[in-house]
């Protein structure tokens, strides 16, 4: 380690003001601080500071995402191998999964990282570690067959329009990863929705397994005819509740497993990085709204309206969104009371978009983005109430 540190320090002069590579100081600073902690001391009181910094904050989210990432790699490979009727031994499955997942991940980091660096260099500030999380989240929300150029475009939009134009991490009001996904979803719907995109088929169409349909649980639920039961339709399509919970089916690469999301939620809550209030209130919102719809729905209503909360909670990207996307501290409200309102509304909107809106089968992404926009307003109302209780202290 001494050697590495020495290498860094002996090259620092090139990046310092006046050096040949002065412009790229942000790059040097990023690489150095990834490896070695800073030894700068406090200049003002307080003289002592907490050990927590934003690097730790962000890395904990990545650690919490690990179960989802591992499951994404395995499951993406597995679904592809099953549909293509190829070997199902562990190594083939993982190899196939890596082959599908890694290019998306690498593209995301390469393109998104480049944008971060460009903005850091132009604005002369340090590279912010917030992108670490964005870069991990985005690939997990994409289908296995996504073209890499779309990933590049999507992450560019997410980072530049979703974040950097407002000043970078901390100043954005939308979740950058979801902004990127929404951009891709609306720009290239054929690659982001339907039945064909979720599983990568490595063989010709006639060699595909007979049982393969490609329809996601949400699509099955969406297409269930009036009068029929959605839960029965799901079960007969092979989507039992247990399977949806475990997540071994084809959909967005990292969003399928509720179990993996729960492990992530546990890590986020124990370390205090993710808000349990937001997560719990999202669940409450779904339960409340779907129960309300169950009660209101008549025999002639859309079948989806009769689906109980139990199923809503394990379908689509709800669990992933509630645990990792809605809890993004920057784009969610700051005050605790506002977090409850925000989460409950996300849950309600998710169910509404799923069941009532005929255009999109998935509601979580849009619900979170919409509530991101409302977060400052909710905060404003909560803070205004709070300030009224203060004894005024003015000049």
């Amino acid at each position: 380690m001494k050697w590495l540190q020495h290498q860094f320090e002996s090259n620092e002069k090139h990046f310092k003001s006046g050096g040949k590579l002065e412009t790229f100081y942000a790059l040097y600073e990023m690489l150095y601080t990834i490896h070695f902690s800073l030894t700068n001391t406090t200049k003002k009181s307080a003289h002592v500071r907490d050990s927590l910094d934003t690097k730790r904050f962000m890395i904990l989210v990545v650690i919490a995402l690990t179960p989802c990432i591992l499951f994404a790699i395995y499951n993406t490979g597995y679904q592809s191998q099953v549909a293509s009727q190829l070997s199902l031994d562990f190594f083939s499955v993982v190899f196939r999964g890596l082959l599908l997942f890694l290019p998306v991940l690498i593209t995301t980091f390469a393109v998104g990282g480049l944008w971060e660096l460009i903005f850091a260099v132009v604005r002369k500030h340090e590279v912010n570690e917030g992108f670490l999380v964005t870069g991990m989240l985005l690939p997990l929300t994409l289908p296995a067959t996504i073209p890499l150029w779309q990933v590049a475009l999507g992450v560019s939009f997410g980072v530049v329009i979703g974040k950097e134009v407002f000043g970078g991490t901390g100043k954005n009001f939308l979740n950058p990863a979801l902004t990127a996904r929404a951009f891709m979803f609306f720009s290239y719907p054929a690659y982001m929705s339907g039945d064909a995109v979720w599983t990568f088929l490595s063989v010709a169409q006639d060699k595909v397994a007979d049982t393969f349909s490609g329809a996601t649980p949400l699509a099955v639920a969406f297409l269930t005819e009036r009068g029929a039961s959605v839960s029965e339709a799901l079960v007969s399509a092979g989507y039992t509740w247990d399977r949806l919970f475990i997540g071994n089916y084809a959909a967005s690469m990292g969003e399928t497993s509720v179990l993996a999301c729960l492990i992530g939620a546990f890590i986020l809550i124990v370390t205090g990085v993710g808000s349990w209030r937001t997560m719990l209130s999202c669940v409450l919102g779904v339960v409340a709204m779907s129960t309300l719809l169950n009660i209101m729905a008549g025999p002639d209503s859309v079948a989806f309206l009769h689906l109980s909360a139990k199923w809503h909670l394990v379908m689509g990207g709800f669990a992933f969104g509630a645990v990792f996307m809605a809890t993004d501290p920057v784009s969610s409200p700051d005050t605790n009371a506002a977090k409850w309102i925000y989460g409950i509304l996300i849950g309600c909107l998710t169910v509404l978009i799923r069941t009532v809106n005929p255009a999109y089968p998935e509601g979580m992404m849009l619900a979170i983005l919409l509530m991101n926009v409302f977060a400052p307003l909710i905060d404003h109302c909560v803070v205004a109430r709070r300030l009224k209780k203060r004894i005024p202290n003015v000049l």
Binding site: T39, K44, R49, T54, D334, V383, R390
Partner: protein
């Protein structure tokens, strides 16, 4: 006796708490008066180099209210006058010699009773003890003019590390009571607070203590008590004073002589035997700490507590209101990839490192910032440690945006400057410094 539960307090669990023993360290050859350590004082000299001064004799006064005097704590000769940047008067150095003393009239309980408030005020203004009053909301020198709506007296000081109340009060309870009697002449409302569990407050002083405070740092800081106990907006302009300064007022009134010794805490992780010491006011830090610190590494000598104190350095002196010297390690090695891993050796308010689960462990904090400065990521920790109910992340945005009205509505002037929001911030934003600077700017505008 009321109890007051102060919300959102936190103990940083610093190692090196001072033991309750007091050693005497009174023989110094030189002391200093440091006008710049008294907030919002604009000093004007009344002595020049070579002048002889008596103990208690004025050496400077405040330009804005000339009645407020700074006095020499010892008898001696003015040796040097030190100016800082922009010719700010930093220090008046006085070498000790002789035993000339400026004496004022002394009082007993009865004569104090018959003394009128105006005379008492004039006496305190020229006594040199006036700067021990800290006036809210700007937390600086108390105005010489006008009435004071309330005076908050804090028996305990829970900042790491300040002198322990039992040490300060040992054998001084009568002077404390006498000082309180004087304060009651200055203001209709004198609120004495002590920490829950303070033995003296519950027994010998139970008749004078009004509020028992429950909570960790900064629950017992007088400004925090004032915010949480204030009945209405009139107390926004209350004054605060610490226990030892009330004792000093009591001693001054009963003897007529400037009391020139104080108990200080010499503490912190790098002090070999953290303890209390009785020292002369204005003592050189170098002499007080000599041989008492582990100086195998670079050290930071803080006059005052580690959260609000002044980075004094070895060559400075103790300011009039500075009751502690805390010593921290000021230089340390870079760690390899320290943000990954469990972190059992990392002290944190959050739960992001295993260190948070270490219970009663005391931590050897050093002066590291422990991270790079970033924009606020709205983690919300600052609001969880604000004992005066401010939402620092919102206030910070208003201060940065220059919105004074909104900043005031968010409670800028209630900020007790405790430093905890700055301490916990993972984005390493200098929150307290921002708020203090904004308050100072407002004060400059209003006077």
């Amino acid at each position: 006796m009321k109890t007051l539960k102060v919300p959102n307090t936190y103990d940083i669990s610093l190692s090196g708490a001072p033991s309750l023993t007091v050693s005497e360290f009174l023989s110094v050859s030189q002391v200093a008066v440091l006008p710049s350590t008294i907030s919002h004082l604009k000093p004007k000299l009344t002595v020049k180099i070579g002048d002889s001064v008596a103990r208690g004799q004025a050496v400077a006064f405040d330009k804005l209210s000339p009645e407020v005097k700074l006095v020499s704590p010892v008898s001696g000769t003015v040796k040097d006058i030190v100016y800082g940047q922009k010719r700010r008067l930093d220090a008046i150095l006085i070498s000790c010699s002789g035993d000339a003393v400026e004496t004022h009239s002394s009082y007993t309980k009865d004569t104090l009773n018959s003394l009128d408030a105006a005379t008492l005020k004039q006496l305190l203004l020229k006594s040199g003890l006036w700067p021990s009053f800290v006036a809210l909301p700007f937390m600086g020198l108390a105005p010489a003019e006008g009435d004071v709506p309330a005076i908050y007296v804090a028996v305990n000081d829970d900042e790491p590390f300040a002198p322990h109340a039992s040490v300060v009060l040992k054998g001084k309870q009568d002077q404390f009571r006498f000082g309180l009697a004087a304060l009651k002449k200055l203001s209709k409302s004198v609120v004495v607070s002590a920490a829950m569990g303070n033995e003296i407050a519950g027994t010998a002083l139970s008749d004078v203590v009004d509020v028992l405070v429950e909570g960790k740092y900064p629950a017992n800081q007088p400004a925090t008590v004032a915010y949480n106990a204030k009945p209405d907006a009139t107390h926004n302009k209350a004054w605060t004073i610490k226990c030892q300064d009330v004792i000093a007022i009591g001693e001054f009134l009963s003897t007529g002589v400037f009391p020139n010794t104080r108990v200080i805490a010499l503490a912190g992780p790098k002090v070999k035997e953290p303890q209390h010491m009785r020292v002369t006011v204005g003592s050189p830090i170098k002499d007080v700490v000599a041989g008492r610190c582990d100086d195998s590494v670079a050290l930071r000598y803080i006059a005052g507590g580690v959260l609000t104190g002044r980075n004094a350095g070895l060559d400075s002196y103790l300011g009039f209101n500075e009751n502690a010297i805390n010593v921290l390690q000021d230089e340390f090695d870079s760690e390899f990839m320290n943000f990954v891993g469990l972190g059992p050796k990392k002290a944190t308010y959050s739960r992001a490192y295993l260190g948070a689960a270490m219970g009663a462990k005391k931590w050897d904090y050093h002066t590291g910032v422990n991270g790079s400065a970033r924009d606020c990521v709205a983690c919300g920790y600052c609001a969880e440690v604000c004992s005066v109910g401010i939402l620092p992340q919102f206030l910070m945005r208003n201060v940065v945006a220059g919105d004074v009205d909104e900043s005031l509505a968010h409670g800028l002037l209630d900020c007790s400057e405790c430093g905890l929001c700055t301490f916990v911030c993972p984005s390493k934003i200098e929150l307290t410094d921002m708020f203090v600077s904004q308050k100072t700017a407002l004060l400059e505008e209003t006077r």
